[in-house]
Amino acid sequence: MSVQAHDSHGLIEWLPLVLVTLLTLTYLAAAYAQRTTAAGWSLWRCGFLVLGSVLLAVAVLPSMMTWAHHDLRGHMVAHLLIGMLAPMVWVLAAPVTLLLRALPQAGGRRVAALLQSRPIRFVSHPVSALSLNIGGMYVLYLTPLYAASLDNQALHYWLHLHFLVAGYLFCWAILAEPDASPHRLSLRFRLGILFIAIAAHSLLGKLMYGYLWPRDTGNGVEEIRFAAQLMYYGGDLAELLLAVVLLSLWLRKPIDRREALLSSATPT
């Protein structure tokens, strides 16, 4: 591994941070413009966006990336921030809804059509989002892919982009609110998918801990075990948060419009 090459922070190393900053400023500008409209735009949502951006910015700082690159523990922390926490908070900021409102009518209609298009409907379905997210992690850690990503800069960046996109799609698919979503799936179905995600995630953590995956990376036993536990407990915390957020959104609805959670008979 070329640690020296990563310590000399070139411009490219700052690129993710610059992109996050640009996205954040664009959102805030659009939100500011909404202030004068009748519907307005909630400060809470702006707060969620900034929080998500801060979490993501911490994860893509060049020094953090360097740590994540040659230490599996650093990689897990970054993965947790990029793949789970930041996306969840970003979904709460409802960026798609803001985009639909901010664009001129024709552009808004085009985005709305895009949201209903087959490819977007497919990847934003909870089942495909789950496969992309957790399935991708199984592929990454249980195959030589992770070892390969250590030597290949492009693959390394691609991987983190995948974490972010897959994590975002998953949180978006599970919450389906408050942002505009292409699907109308029942709360029970989404809870079921979240259940599978928690089980699959903790299973992967245990497999990595017990059988010392990912292999051929020069990571010591202690390092892998610590990283696996980070994944297990950290992933837990993130998924627990997602469940709490999902049910809080449910509880926020007026009593008579709340979908029944368990039994099919709605209490009236």
Partner: protein, 153 residues
């Protein structure tokens, strides 16, 4: 207006929501106290057959979601002013005791997923484990009967 049915409905809902919380809390206590604090059995058990690891992942998901869903169901019921508190307490203890007994008999003895403690004679541990489960269940049963009596009164 069908009052008797609806109050029986509330009792049933309150009971089951609290059973979920009880199961989740007991599983959480098991994991935090015996796995993490005492480290009697471990994060990953070399002696455990692969099926044990898989069931562990599933159990873990059950435990997390049971607490969250149960708590939110109880909040929902209370917002509807339909929470039957005495039934909820009965359900909570029955859930805790039921899970403890299930864990002690099915997981530890029948499936042999893991034991409470290793390198010692497990009998006394098994005995106290299942005894604790029975005590919780008895408390749950007593609360259940009390809730039923109060419902009639």
């Amino acid at each position: 207006m069908n009052l008797p049915t609806s109050s029986r409905d509330d009792a049933r809902r309150s009971l089951w929501a609290a059973v979920l919380v009880g199961i989740g809390v007991m599983a959480g206590v098991d994991e935090i106290v015996f796995h993490q604090l005492l480290q009697w059995h471990h994060f990953f058990d070399r002696a455990t057959p692969t099926i044990g690891i898989i069931s562990d992942g599933v159990l873990h998901a059950v435990e997390l979601l049971a607490i969250v869903i149960g708590v939110f169901l109880l909040i929902d019921l209370s917002q509807r002013k339909r929470l039957a508190i005495s039934w909820a307490w009965a359900g909570f203890f029955c859930g805790m005791g039921g899970f403890q007994l299930f864990d002690g008999i099915v997981n530890h003895k029948l499936l042999r997923l893991h034991q409470i403690r290793y390198e010692v004679e497990p009998f006394i541990y098994d005995l106290s484990w299942n005894f604790a489960a029975l005590v919780l269940l008895l408390v749950g049963g007593w609360l259940y009967r009390r809730a039923k009596r109060m419902g009639r009164g």
